[in-house]
Symmetry: C2
């Protein structure tokens, strides 16, 4: 069997986490290359691959990227598109595959907005150099974009649960086998991670919104209890959220505004 | 034959344009639903579909979305993934398909950054309400992100041209049949549109960078001369760039900084 080699920044969950969760849930071995030592491993080796566009047939723009045999695949959602069928985490029919991928791409859009709430001007500047701007962007994010994205996923999940019928209601074990597109997929794993990250970054806002997100909260709990995920979360392979990644906790960005209009800086 | 129905805002090229260009180049009929009048057509009908998440099996988060028979497909890159093989605008092998999609997703990331250069705080606020912040974000964009993205695509194109060999060099007609992944694909059409949009929005910056982008400029010219694209560009179906879309021309954002550090507001 050819190894799955995942390349991603070693210090943050970041976008790499969406790929890690798929491997972990499926119980399929992978090598987290930039977090290992040895020939071709480590962060420097990853940066050399990124910098040597000429030598890769399909150079990625940025991490994460996956190497599997001769294939080098970039873009998180594209990696999950490749892995979905192989790991049993995506429907095999075309319509189901497109729907699953559509949701994963909408999560990708969401992630950009979550990140840019604390870095509205430039990823190359410190948060401290864009605090006033972040306060304005985060107010709009918390008041408008966060409820819009979560409401979208909550609505689809609510309908998926109704469709799944009475037999699965009330049992976390059964719920853990059903997902937002019907069968359990990488989208459910990604939604779990987004919910966990938002609760870390915006605890007050998420607490306020909790009553309107019952299905997302149930999904989060159900994923957390899946045996392979529970084992992963308890392992050193799971990197904690921190102040370097997509999800950062700055209390001053967690408040939004009471009247819905962004604050002046 | 079942109609391809494209749903997108009727007043701007926007993200819908990447889908329009694929249909137009392939010479495959499509209905631009929100720009037509009649039952189920027009912007209001599109908004009703978006607002009626319950009644669509696969509700999109935002336009564009494509309806084809029973399928409703959201996310620009996902629509092009679906259309690629059907329109003869993507390789049919898995590796080629993943590489094509990876590049389309990187264009999607680029588009977000192009848009946010003039709207760093919120899409719900006017440009005039975030001018100082836009000046800082656009300085970083012009000095750092724009050259990084364009340099990435230029490097891959340069290598694709070398690989294609001497026979195709120097002839725009031949060049128009080869593309960034080898065969001509929707990625080439999208890169054409990005180049045209950047030249509208950032003429001074693009002029300064022109000497370092020979292959992108050649691609842009070659696509413009493809018969179906030339006919489309001369038709009323092609919406002009304007100050409502992704690509907007604000001269004050086109300058960057001489020393590479973002301006203070």
């Amino acid at each position: 069997m050819v190894d799955y080699e995942l390349y991603y920044w070693p210090e943050i969950p970041g976008r790499g986490e969406f790929v890690r969760l798929a491997f972990e849930d499926a119980g399929v071995p992978y090598v987290d290359m930039a977090r290992e030592k040895g020939r071709g491993k480590g962060e420097q080796a990853m940066l050399r691959m990124l910098g040597s566009g000429d030598r890769l047939a399909t150079p990625p723009f940025a991490p994460p990227f996956l190497k599997h045999g001769d294939l080098v695949i970039g873009q998180t959602a594209n990696i999950l598109l490749y892995l979905g069928g192989r790991l049993g985490l995506a429907p095999r029919d075309e319509a189901g595959g497109l729907w699953t991928h559509q949701l994963q791409l909408t999560i990708a859009d969401f992630i950009v907005e979550i990140h840019d709430a604390h870095h509205p001007l430039s990823g190359a500047l410190y948060y401290e150099d864009q605090k006033a701007e972040a306060a304005r962007r985060a107010a709009d994010f918390v008041d408008s974009r966060l409820p819009k994205f979560l409401g979208y996923f909550e609505g689809i999940l609510a309908r998926a649960h109704v469709t799944a019928g009475a037999g699965t209601r009330g049992q976390a074990g059964d719920r853990a086998r059903q997902g937002i597109v019907g069968p359990f997929t990488h989208v459910d794993l990604s939604l779990f991670h987004v919910m966990a990250g938002l609760q870390y970054a915006f605890p007050s806002s998420m607490n306020r919104m909790a009553p309107s997100l019952p299905h997302l909260l149930t999904l989060e709990k159900a994923v957390r209890q899946r045996p392979n995920i529970a084992a992963y979360l308890a392992s050193p392979r799971r990197l904690p959220f921190n102040q370097q990644g997509i999800f950062r906790h700055y209390p001053e960005l967690d408040e939004g505004t009471r009247d819905g209009s962004p604050k002046s800086p």
